[in-house]
């Protein structure tokens, strides 16, 4: 390990506490957490689950924005993030925050004074999630302190078993009331020095790509296509929020990795004639933001998809390409009629997303072929659309049932129905029989009832730890009921999460 300011194609380089750290010789699947605890001796960051579900390992990554002038700081789970993927970024850990004179950062002070820690094991993760919220541009000195909802969302990937969270939520709401610290104020986080230090680490020249035994991070789409064509058995890595678990939990030895996070072209979100085109490198955070902007009905799905640390690392296309039967983005994207764009060598093809899935963990992907983007058609006026998720917990849970419905109703009749479900079959899939029961029928309770009656012909869901077959079938139908009520007339409060569910007695 040595300090250096020029990039090295063999070594991972990142900034930590103002120093450029150069690491080589570690296996490519070494996680950031393993590096911190076992190599760097920074034991403040904890392992609680090694699967990105508890947040004890949360650190903040600073990434140079596309304009090269600001740094985007986001919380991630260090336990499932491979070290080579933080190349060119700034790593901030719980040890980084305290001033050199021992001054606690406002986030830390608020946690102490609100009594936000008990056993303390989860605390570094909470501190870092709150720190990422503290640095958000909209939380700046001119901004208002974070709302309760913003704090809850920022903390949705952090588990605490001691406090009941109330004091931590208070700390999140009060941290902005403290004087700006000398170290890691919002301004200092965007200082010219920090920006230029990161800029110097960016890999530009084609031969500068990070490449060492078992790891290759091409810088262009063409380079990626030829690399994957040459070595089709390579593992294509994006956010790693699933692949990370292959090593930490399943103890698998990984094939050589081709990482697509360094390719600028894949980071693009563009409006095209065919719709919103989201590149394969786009994070779930950015992807969902873009989707919600066009389809506001997706906001609940986006909010419940996963915690910020997972969404900041994981990619939307990764969720699609992973193809889990309980991947929560697919029902909505299928209902909206999204396509996926794929590339193999120099050949491109585009297919409807629902055709990508052939069977459990089987996809219509040829050797050397990879997802380039997902293309989501623009909103249509008059289309009824909703997306729902059912799970044991609101935040950071895997759905028992996920459903998205897109209907076109004309002159009181259903002219098109796309009913897509997750959790009901081995793949995310449309309910063909239920759709058939609706199309051409009046938009009425009776039609909904017959669609519900058709669902057992569409799906024979599993019974597992998340829910029984009976529950899945029943709620798959009840979600259609909810959809109908929501779209008709003057519905009552339909959701327990709706603040109007609580009428406070005064």
């Amino acid at each position: 390990m040595s300090a250096s300011s020029t990039t090295n194609s063999q070594a991972v380089q990142f900034v930590l506490d103002g120093e450029v750290v150069t690491v080589s010789g570690l296996p490519p699947s070494t996680t950031v957490l393993e590096y911190l605890r076992n190599v760097a001796g920074r034991t403040g960051t904890k392992e609680g689950c090694a699967e990105g579900d508890c947040g004890a390992c949360t650190v903040v990554l600073g990434e140079l924005a596309a304009d090269g002038r600001t740094i985007d700081y986001r919380a991630i789970n260090s336990c499932i993030r491979f070290l080579p993927t933080i190349d060119g970024k700034e790593l901030v850990t719980v040890e980084s925050l305290q001033g050199t004179d021992g001054e606690l950062h406002p986030v830390q002070r608020a946690m102490v004074e609100c009594h936000g820690s008990q056993c303390g094991f989860c605390t570094p993760g909470f501190v870092m999630s709150l720190f990422a919220l503290y640095l958000r541009p909209e939380q700046g000195s001119q901004g208002s302190p974070p709302e309760r909802e913003e704090v809850l969302t920022a903390l949705s990937g952090n588990l605490c078993r001691c406090t009941g969270y109330r004091p931590i939520i208070d700390a999140g709401r009060r941290m902005s009331e403290y004087p700006e610290p000398k170290r890691w104020s919002r301004d200092e986080a965007q200082s010219a020095g920090r920006v230029s230090q990161l800029r110097a680490l960016q890999r530009k020249a084609p031969d500068a790509a990070l490449r060492f035994a078992g790891f290759h991070a091409p810088l262009t789409l063409d380079e990626l296509a030829s690399a994957l064509e040459a070595a089709p058995d390579s593992l294509l890595l994006a956010g790693g929020t699933d692949i990370g678990l292959w090593t930490t939990k399943h103890l698998r030895d990984l094939p050589p990795i081709i990482y697509l996070g360094a390719i600028a072209e894949l980071q693009e979100i563009r409006n095209t004639d065919a719709g919103l085109r989201i590149g394969a490198g786009v994070s779930l955070s950015a992807g969902w933001s873009a989707l919600v902007a066009q389809h506001p009905a997706l906001s609940e799905q986006a909010g419940r998809f996963a915690s910020p640390p997972v969404c900041n690392s994981g990619t939307l296309c990764g969720n699609i390409a992973n193809g889990s039967p309980i991947g929560d983005s697919m029902p909505a994207l299928i209902a909206l009629g999204a396509d996926v764009e794929m590339r193999q060598g120099t050949l491109y093809r585009r297919i409807p997303l629902e055709h990508l899935y052939l069977g459990y963990q089987k996809k219509s992907l040829r050797p050397g072929e990879f997802l380039v983007s997902v293309v989501v058609p623009p909103p249509k006026s008059g289309r009824l659309f909703a997306s729902y998720k059912l799970a044991k917990r609101i935040d950071q849970d895997i759905s028992a049932v996920c459903a998205a419905f897109a209907l076109e109703v004309s002159a009181g009749r259903v002219v098109e129905a796309r009913l897509a479900y997750g959790g009901m079959a081995a793949i995310p899939a449309r309910a063909a029989n239920a759709e058939k029961a609706l199309v051409g029928q009046p938009w009425s309770q009776a039609s909904i009832d017959s669609a519900i009656a058709a669902l057992p012909a569409d799906f024979t869901p599993l019974t597992d730890s998340r829910a029984s077959q009976a529950y899945r079938l029943k709620t798959a139908g009840n979600l259609l009921r909810r959809f109908y009520m929501q779209q008709s007339g003057n519905p009552p409060t339909l959701r327990v999460t709706d603040p109007s569910a609580h009428v406070e007695f005064t």
Binding site: C54, Q118, P124, V127, R161, V496, F505
Partner: protein
Amino acid sequence: MTSARVSGEQHQPGAGASAGGEPHRHEASARVSGGEPHRHEASASVIGEPHPHDSAHLHVTGKALYCDDIALPAATLHAAFGISSISHGRIRELDLAPVMADPAVIAVALPADIPGENNYGGAVHDDPIFADGLVQYAGQPMFAVAASSYTAARKAARRARVSYDELPAILDIRAALAAESYVLPSRRLVRGTPGTVLARSPLRLQGTVLMGGQDHFYLEGQIAIAIPQEDGAMLVHSSTQHPTEVQHIVAHALGIRAHSVTVQCRRMGGGFGGKESQPALIAASAAVLAAKTQRPVKLRLDRDVDMIMTGKRHEFLADYDVGFDAQGRIQALTIMLASRCGYSADLSGPVNDRAVSHLDNAYFLEHVEIISHRCKTHTVSNTAFRGFGGPQGMMVIERILDDIARTLNLDPLDVRRANFYGVAHANVTHYGQTIEDNIIHEIVDRLEAESAYRERRKVIAECNSRNPVVKRGLALTPVKFGISFTATHFNQAGALLQVYTDGTVLLNHGGTEMGQGLHIKVAQVVAAELGVPLSAIRATTTDTSKVPNTSATAASSGSDLNGMAAQAAARTIRRRLVDYACEAHAIDASRVRFEHGQVHIGARIISFGDFVRDAYTARISLSATGYYRTPRIHWDRATLIGHPFFYFAYGAAVAEVAVDTLTGETRLLRVDILHDAGASLNPAIDLGQIEGGFLQGVGWLTSEELWWDAHGALQTHAPSTYKIPTARDWPAHSTVTILERSPNREDTIHRSKAVGEPPLMLAISVFHAIRDACAACGATGELPQLSAPATPEAVLRAIDSVSRRHA
């Protein structure tokens, strides 16, 4: 709107936090909830103050050291368990050649490698460290492997080739009852003539109450580091609530004596009862490998193995038959209580005993019979968990009262109140203890008024009549929880206090720190006695070589026992110092005072540091041990009769929820809590216990579901599948109040009360609020069949159970 009332605490951002590595403490003088008699004069400035946790500044900077953070000696090995894949069977062949084939593997340990006893069961010796021939649950350790790295050890452990002769497995309580499969003999407690009275009761109901278990989900998993010492001794760093038991089990496993094993624990990343008996298995396995290789061995369980292999809260089932009158007063009650103990006894005896002794909660049961079956199943052996059977017992009676109220179309609160223990009469528990400190009436009356219970009841009924989809529910439930270990001999503690010549104080006691703030509370006690600032006191690692023969930090007893022991030690030292002052300054003891870091000797004021240096020079001993045993308690474990509890802690909660009747999803909308901590030693710490205990209970009763597959393998063994509450599950509207001016009537440490476990049971209000909302889907008098946890699926089932006939 969230309000947490800590007596006198002022939150002033920017004030009170000092720079540097100093502890950050509120200096502002806070109003102390008054009324405590016998308070020592010097204590006024520190007892009852909302001091932050003594490690808070370390927690937030990542500098607090846990076992996994300890710098390891060179040549340390990392260990992992090889675990069984079946629930019940004989090991036909265990081939470890593929394990040993990895050059990173240095050693394996099998039963034959244990020099002493292959057991980690503390009470009944039925817990093998490594399964010896017979496997009794899926996930049972069969061997351990030591390798050069954590990952290498885990990978190697999975390479064993195992074949089994499978045996029939008993996987749930009903199957165990049918087979009369028990880990311990069943118990029966009878008072009065329940059979006769039941037969002539005007009204009668029968029902079954079901509630699931709970994983502790401490954020820090089980871990131990064993480091061989000279002359056959062993040093063990263990994340444990019970260092003494770890010491004994390690000694027995190694075939050495207690004085050769030292166990240390600076802090745990959460315990909740999960680190009472379980750490002995981890520590003993590490020690066996360390003894075999003569190298340090670290054994840290990954989350999945931790959740699969270690015990949990007991799942319970209860069949009841109750007779009552038109006001809902219970006339007679018979109950068959059965719990899933798993394959061995562990702490199941006392856990089930506490379920029996807490079946009354706050209610007088004049004629009652309780049969308690401790069922043996081929699943992990269940263990201590905050409340220790008490929550399960209380869930049973609360459900019975709710059933009675719904049957009679009475408000459940009225039925609950009609059954409360009296203050001067109807005040003897079914196990024969007279309740001398009953304050449940005033708590419930006040909470009912302050939470606007009656008014909200009307608003909710009105909302429910208008909304066919989202139903709201409301419930108020009380808590009365007995404080003391039921095993009388555990109710003792020791402390060791050392004063150095610069006036600083090193505090050691038998209690362990798992986040509950024990060290800061005990430090406050010592600071009060010696009149020194908290910054002069340092609480140190719990260490079996400093304070011996300690009890587990459990049963909410930590500050009651260790606070008293430390106070005794401090008083011994103070007495010596006073004697010295009297002698050296020829003054009467009444004119010597210790306060604010100074010693007042008549008109003279000397700093505490200078004074103890003088005392040292005059050859006054500056270290002392302290000892305490709880008075008054006794209990006959065979008849379940006696005076097992020194006192009771009380509380009550009102919860309001919303239920989506299409999906079964629920939200906790509001909670109002009024809880009794006696004269709180530290209201900030106690508030943390109340709020945290409450939400942990909410998790148990709502989202936390343990799910075993048909072969008895636990499938919810990671946070991806086992869902504890998140921040969004704390209600948007909460008022949590510590009962003021209510000192303990017993002579506890500064008249405080234990607060670790009781608040968990406040969560029963949430379960009953959900049940209330389910009931709103059916006709009056219907009883929703809601089992715990009230997952969306369970809730939808309960709604179906009342609404099907009316659909």
